[in-house]
Amino acid sequence: MSTATTTKAPELREQRQSLLRRIAWGRVGAYALLGFFAVIYLGPLLMLVNTSLKTMPDFMKSATALPTSLNFQNFVEAWTKANFLRYMTNTLLYTVAATSIYIVTAVFVAFPISRGYIKGAGWLLTLYVIALFLPVALIPQFQLILNLGLYNNPFGYVMLFLVNPIGVVILVNYIKTLPLELDEAAAMDGCGYFRFVTMIVFPLIQPAIATVAVLHAIGIWNELILPTIYLTNKDYYPITRGMIVFQGVYGSNWPTLAAAVLIMTLPMLILFLVLQRYIVSGLTAGAVKG
């Protein structure tokens, strides 16, 4: 045995070395490719930060050069001139109100569908699944809001965000993982339906709720088309619409505009880093059948 290994040792070592070399090259290639993409992804953000710290003459002289001195004036100007506090408060209110109402109503839709506690549960689920294919509902939706007298009205605007079919589908799938015995045991103890859903189901499906809530909230936060269509009063503008208006006024003043974009980006980036897990699971839910 020992002689066999010693005779083969050099050959083996050579084999392993060539293998190592190949793996190392594969690694270098992988990192090179990842690095290339990282530059495409981070470059625009770095440019944004760089521009926001420059003065307009600096920017005119060379758009890409580093700022000669740190200049935070752009942020002050953007914050005061853009009415950002107002827009951000609006966005926050819309997002929180619509997401909370949506989540509560969605769980009460998803739970009986998932459990088969209502007639036609399967059909109902299909109705939610086909939403992906539905035609753009913008026109009749607009007519509806107009006729309800909710045009240019924050309540009407929030109403538009009380729906998210994918969220319901995610919840239905998650509730299926709860054991049925839970329902039986609770009912045996005299727990009613409403109390069961609110006191027992809600806490148990928190991961799914977090996922759906974050997904829904991001959609509201970033929405641009609906505020453009439905809100004409500047006092009601969310941050997205406010940003577009600001761009219209400061379009050529990139340092100030960049500062404004950065002010709008930062809360999202921070939230993203904190909630990344939920965002990812929300966007990939249902992609892989278990």
Binding site: P44, F108, L134, F142, Q276, V288
Partner: protein, 309 residues
């Protein structure tokens, strides 16, 4: 049905009553309007309060498809939509798969890369658009400077329509690649490691392992990604709005619906709030989604049955 434990009689109604608000929201705000789009497409609805709505039959479709310059503009928009959707879907799908396989390796720092590639997804069209408008600043912006080294000059978003659209395609992919990548990663992680071990023992090379292990077992993620990308890109137009604004020769169908229905000029026809007409454009887009989406869905499902049994 028989397994309901929370009482009988009136108590049996509880799940129905509590489901009602959520379901009503869905019907009133999304499902109903989506279906009503069909009805509106046969009217001259204007979107101005107090004006009467008249039934005009197929007039909107006749105008959309067969009336002179306007319909030629519409066909151009339809063609652009197809090119946009095809480019976005094929590139995003391929790059998403490559990136997913790269960051699914046991390499240091892959989590950081994952986060970086996924980041734009949460920023939304406004920030995505403005960030790239700055990066593509034609007067000495980063890319302009880089190309300047090679003596190439470009107006980027302000250039020829075809070039402007190419940049929108680029930003669209940049913005959504992370979702495609994450869905592929989720799929890759369901593939058991011992299958690769076995293949390696049998002397399979990297390509053979991809061809015979990864690709077939990735079928669910492949299907999801293809379908989401196709439908999403056919309906996408927000980045056109932010990056290009209204510009001749660059609209896609989604933008055309918005422009016609909510008072922006589109094509060679100046319009204000032509909502009936916009509804007919929505139905044309809907048909496009069905004509492309359903056969793809059918084919993918058959393939999944064949591959995964």
């Amino acid at each position: 049905m028989n397994n309901y434990h929370f009482g009988r009689g009136r108590a049996r109604l509880a799940p129905y009553l509590l489901l009602l608000p959520g379901f009503l929201f869905y019907v009133v705000i999304m499902l109903g309007p989506a279906i009503a789009t069909g009805a509106y497409s046969f009217t001259d609805a204007s979107g101005i309060q107090g004006t009467t709505v008249n039934w005009i039959g197929l007039e909107n479709y006749r105008e959309f498809l067969f009336m002179g310059q306007a319909s030629l503009d519409n066909y151009a928009a339809l063609w652009r939509t197809l090119i946009f959707a095809f480019s976005v879907t094929s590139i995003q799908f391929t790059l998403g798969l490559i990136l997913a396989m790269l960051v699914n390796q046991r390499l240091k720092g892959v989590n950081v890369f994952r986060t970086i590639f996924f980041m734009p997804v949460i920023l939304g069209a406004v920030i995505q658009g403005l960030i790239w408008s700055l990066f593509l600043y034609p007067l000495g912006g980063p890319l302009a400077s880089l190309l300047g080294v090679f003596g190439v000059r470009s107006e980027f978003l302000g250039g020829q329509p075809s070039e402007a659209i190419a940049w929108v395609i680029f930003v669209q992919i940049w913005a959504n690649l992370g979702v495609t990548m994450m869905i592929f990663i989720a799929g890759l992680q369901t593939i058991p490691e011992d299958l690769y071990e076995g293949a390696r023992m049998d002397g399979a090379n990297a390509w053979q392992m991809f061809r015979n292990v990864t690709w077939p077992l990735l079928t669910p993620s492949v299907n999801t990604n293809l379908l989401l990308n196709i439908i999403g890109s056919l309906q996408a137009w927000q980045l056109f709005l932010v990056l290009l604004g209204y510009r001749n020769g660059t609209q896609v169908l989604g933008y055309l619906i918005f422009a016609q229905g909510f008072g922006q000029t589109s094509g060679s026809v100046t319009s204000a709030f032509r909502q009936g007409y916009a509804a007919s454009a929505s139905i044309v887009l809907f048909c496009l989604v069905l004509v492309i989406g359903l056969p793809v869905q059918y084919y993918l499902q058959r393939r999944e049955k064949r591959v995964l049994g």
